[in-house]
Subunit: 290 residues, 6 copies
């Protein structure tokens, strides 16, 4: 055997695959809910990479559920239609005309684009919203001072439609819209919806793709692991602020609701999800009960 | 028993239910594909009635599959956006911008409205398009003189997603869009799509809801039953013409493809489908192999 | 659409069907136990109507279980054979010869006639008694002063044979006979047996068909809804008496044993069961926990 | 081991059990149809033995189906009722009154007695007739010179009800009555019915219990194995005659219809069936394709 | 019937079979774990008889699991290889070389011989050890004064592989070897292993085949039934001693762990197991909770 | 996004995983039969790598079946026992003593070592031989001039035991021994056995691990793809010779028997199987129908 010299490049590939083995075994049959948004959604290369990751998860026996956002696209469409956008506490005031545009953009454009990306990557996706199969029942969100219109709060989740699609070997892609008891549509925050679906499906992981590297400490170094109590401290001392606060709250709600871990992941990194799931290094900030 | 006088109104109800019995037995477990469009889609009362009919079919063990159109709504949206509509041989020339609008209107507006109507009637619908689960694979339609853009012809139907939804006790609602081999969207004629889905699912019935009473003879009397050869004669002698010709061709294709019968039904009649299915009178024009 | 005038008769039919929708949804998959007897059993037209009703229930996904009586027919056969009938507290004293005749009439005549009526209505019935599959195990009923012979009390119900028949798409029809631990036959009251079967199968409804309109108040007006405590009051003040008392006790036992509601129904009304189940009016007297 | 002396009686038992092993393996999961009649039915000890045999078959994984006769008992009941019995070519002319008595005796008396014997032996039987589950559809038998009344010929067998009962771990016991297309009862020869059920269930064995030792040659020696062509020869040369001829024809029809073997068995021998099935000696006359 | 004289030998066979009936019914679907060893393993006739018994159990619906020993054969092989055997408290001190020989003899010779005997008897066996499917996880047995090498204690039993084999209609035959957490082999006492497997599979019976008649009292009479407390008394007064003590402890552990009864059986008696299981006499000493 | 710089090492890992995606999708649910032998079996590191590869295949939904050899180990054991090895045409003349040693080494040593390696890699293996579950039935191989003793030819393969193990999430490891009709053991060539198992299980791939790089042309360059007719040419012109000839014949038999492709793979390369299966480069020589 002295004369045998394996190709180092091939060997490296084999090592990557065997490095993935324990993760393959651990996650087989489990559900991963992924909130997809931001740059990863706008950039065709990142969109293709993301779709490949999702299809790979499915191929190795994990059940991915994709929830997407679409705020900027809705804003653009409203602007093109001459409708003014109004926000209260970061929530878009949603009158009927706005809701109609939002639903067309979310369910009729973005949702089906993701379905198409997954098809290109060799998978089979089914694009739905929370209205389909009465997946997400919602009620009007109450606000102390303003009428937010058709902004909704989640009342109840019935995962039958997700389970049905996943068991048939397909990937559910969900637009963040809920259905009221009279059949009306409600605009739901996509992170919140992903968190609720993760709890309701008994997911092993919740991923929130963002446009930042993760949670950073005051020296701008990545915090790779956090517990709910550590997050509270960081919030108290002002290390985390702005949009990261509700995202981390969604993570806390998820892990307290039974999800094993929630991860804030940098959607700008190609294949960030694969690296996080199948290598020892991981990526982003992982939140888990202490 | 001389003194017993049953209430005639209740008796009539009981008779209606027992009249339905043989049809309930005959159709249990079978699939009915329904092309929903025209006035029935625009009028809220008719929409509610239609949703009730579909939910009733599901409740008695039939698997309805709804395919909807949306030409007028697409036209209105394009007009509002200042895009000009161009038609060749009755087919909308569909450039990329037009397709994007069409997909938003079909998948993001009309499709989800039908889902909501079915929810109000107590059913559970899942709104998809032919792209979801790669239900309908399409290629560009060739035309001898014009480039029709993204008008598509159906290449292949894979009913897995429909079967999955139906078996889970839900009702698939399908927008008439196909997916190309590179993930691109194609605009498909809704009648044609309903016919293909009827054949591929092994449907017992194909219903095409229209805005006319059915096929009329030269004396304007309704022709209740037709065979393909009778249709050919009627076409030759000019009794039928215009938009009814492709509709009847879809019916012929369906019954020749194994569908037991195809029915041109007056969508303006409240509950026309129930009357056609569960009473002796029937409604509209039924096409069956001679 | 101004010129479209739907046929009011057809419209009424459609309305009857849609009126049935919520009941179809509510009762799908549940079990209804029906005690069939009295005039409804003697009159061929009512027998045909009853069979149609039972087959219709089956066709829409309800599992009917029919329990029948046969007192008058047993009496007639005994009289023809010159055997004298003796009663104690309304119970027929049943020596071995009487039991043999009773079993022949119940299992060999009435039971199979009902099976035949159901077959004529397009259904598939399987006629059994409580001996088959050891459905109803019984012991000798003790009486303070008399030996009632083979009159039995129910000891144990094993519904395997009913579940087996129902799941195979067939309708069990049960003669009111139990089996003792040495294989001997016992004469069981049919109402009582229906009540026990309703509890043991987890039935949603128990129907007792009688030859009266239901429970009437002192002004002879029908009492449409009663609770066990109201029944006790009515019994105390003498409003109800005679054979209605044990029937209502069976209803109370059933609802206290987990049956959602028990109904005393007028078997002389054609299709009384359909009206009770599928229309808003209802029929007869419904007993439910308060 | 020189001092070990096994008890010869126990050893003999062990040998009997191991002798049964190849038969247990061969017959596991197969169906045996048994026509039960004659003395074996009249004598309580033989009835108990027969029931034990049937329950033992079920316990070791064979699916027994019992078909019973009842001619003598019907005759006795008719005589007691003062009705005259008339026969044409060995077939009882069956008017409506006779049929009613026959059905009561067969379905209401004999059938349920067998059910009770099987219960005593620890098994669970379900007593039905050919009317139940529309098991045996019949038409009026045509006769060149006489009107036989409700004597029936078998038109169609639907074994769903038998399969359902067998799969649920129970033993079907079938009275020889068929159902006409208008729900009327037909009197069917029990041997014939057993033969049809054996073919329709794909039975491995058909047993016809009789009151003779089997088919005897001219020297009165038992013929243990016969082929259809040998039977024809024996009939031609007059060795077999009388009631044995239709019995052997039933055997021939059965084996030509796919039953592996049909056996004419002496019902007077206690446990004749066990000896035939589980020992090397066998019993009676076995008919098999040559 | 006066002239009918059944053959007494056949009658005796039939009686043996019917005597087995209640046991067949009681044990259907249950698991029997059998420790096979001693003379029964060395003698070809007894080995054939044993295999027939095991195959018969399987044929009548019982799931036998065979655990075998092999001490003498291991000793012989070690001697032939010139390796000295050392024992501490009756346990073979097992260094790596000894373990290697033991595993070859147990898994490579004895185990496959039993598989072959069962094949000859018409059954299908699958020979495994506790390493296969990680059936038996073990750790090094601690001893106060000696290092016993690879003698193991059972840590955990995972019966998946046994259930899988049994459900597929096959008979697991298990060599008494466990697997450590680093994949190393451990030598496990076969009686102990049989007891653990009986508890883990929820077995109805544990049989320990030995070379003695069972437990004898001081007058050398067989004690047919014992409770744990009676065993303690017998041990205290010196009635039982030597190798019988750990065997009875295994029995006590088994019945306290949920096994219905454990039987010390004389493996020198041909078909001792059949006699014990299927006749009223029984054989050996049965241990059951008092 | 200008400031984002993904780590190239992580990116490479992600690319390796996505490179594997099409192969994961193509092979999901299929069976791969692997003949394991040579250096890969002797070297602990290669054995560990091999076990990891097999467990990884299982983890991603492929069903691996391992067949192992053991010639050198048998030779060593025979030599240690002073038994002389005799060969005819490369086949070991196998008398009973030799067979006993061979079976001990194959089933009791090598087989269980592989089971242990797979356990260490986190998998669950079940080590059997062709005798278990009567997987491989064999007859004595005939030779024109010599008596080869217990060298066997494969008569019949019954894959039930393999399917059972695979479906239960475990990995079958098979020693190359067959069972004769009298239960005797036969020595089977391991390559041949792997080929038969590949055909009988409908395998997608057959891998033969060897100690060479694959099939080389006259310039010692690796031939990566061959058809049966190309192999015939290479054999005719002397390019291939010696032990490679029967190996390639096994490959030809396999692909002609329905296996999609057979691969001669260099067992000295760490993770050669992973590279062959999940990368574009491949490894070794692949034989496929032209």
């Amino acid at each position: 055997m002295t004369d045998y010299r394996p190709d180092p490049a091939l060997l490296a590939k084999a090592e990557t695959l065997t490095e993935a083995l324990p993760y393959l075994q651990r996650y087989a049959g489990s559900t991963f809910v992924v909130k997809y948004g931001g740059h990863a959604m706008g950039d065709p290369e990142l969109a293709r990479d993301f779709a490949e990751d999702v299809v790979l998860l499915k191929a190795v026996g994990i059940n991915p559920v994709v929830v997407h956002g679409g705020g900027p696209q809705i804003g653009a469409m409203l602007k093109a239609s001459g409708v003014e956008s109004k926000f209260v506490d970061g929530l878009r005031v949603t009158d009927e005309a706005t809701m109609k545009v939002a639903e067309m953009v979310l369910s009729g454009q973005i949702n089906k684009e993701i379905v198409a990306w997954i098809a290109r990557a060799g998978g089979r996706a089914v694009g739905i919203s929370g209205k389909d199969g009465r997946l997400v029942t919602a009620t009007k969100m109450k606000h102390p001072t303003h009428d937010l219109g058709l902004v909704g709060e989640i009342d109840h989740v019935d995962t039958t439609v997700l389970d049905t699609i996943s068991r048939a070997g397909m990937i559910p892609v969900v637009a963040p819209i809920g259905i009221g008891k009279d059949g009306e549509s409600y605009n739901i925050n996509a992170d919140t919806m992903a968190g609720f679906l993760a709890i309701a499906t008994g997911a092993e992981r919740l991923f929130l793709l963002t446009d930042v590297a993760g949670v950073l400490d005051k020296q701008k170094a990545l915090l790779t692991d956090l517990t709910p109590s550590q997050i509270n401290l960081l919030q108290t001392d002002g290390t985390i602020s702005g949009g990261m606060i509700p995202k981390l709250q969604t993570c806390i709600d998820a892990v307290e609701g039974g999800v094993d871990a929630a991860v804030i992941l940098d959607g700008r990194v190609p294949h960030a999800m694969l690296i996080e799931i199948f290598t020892k290094q991981g990526a982003g900030t992982l939140v888990r009960l202490g």
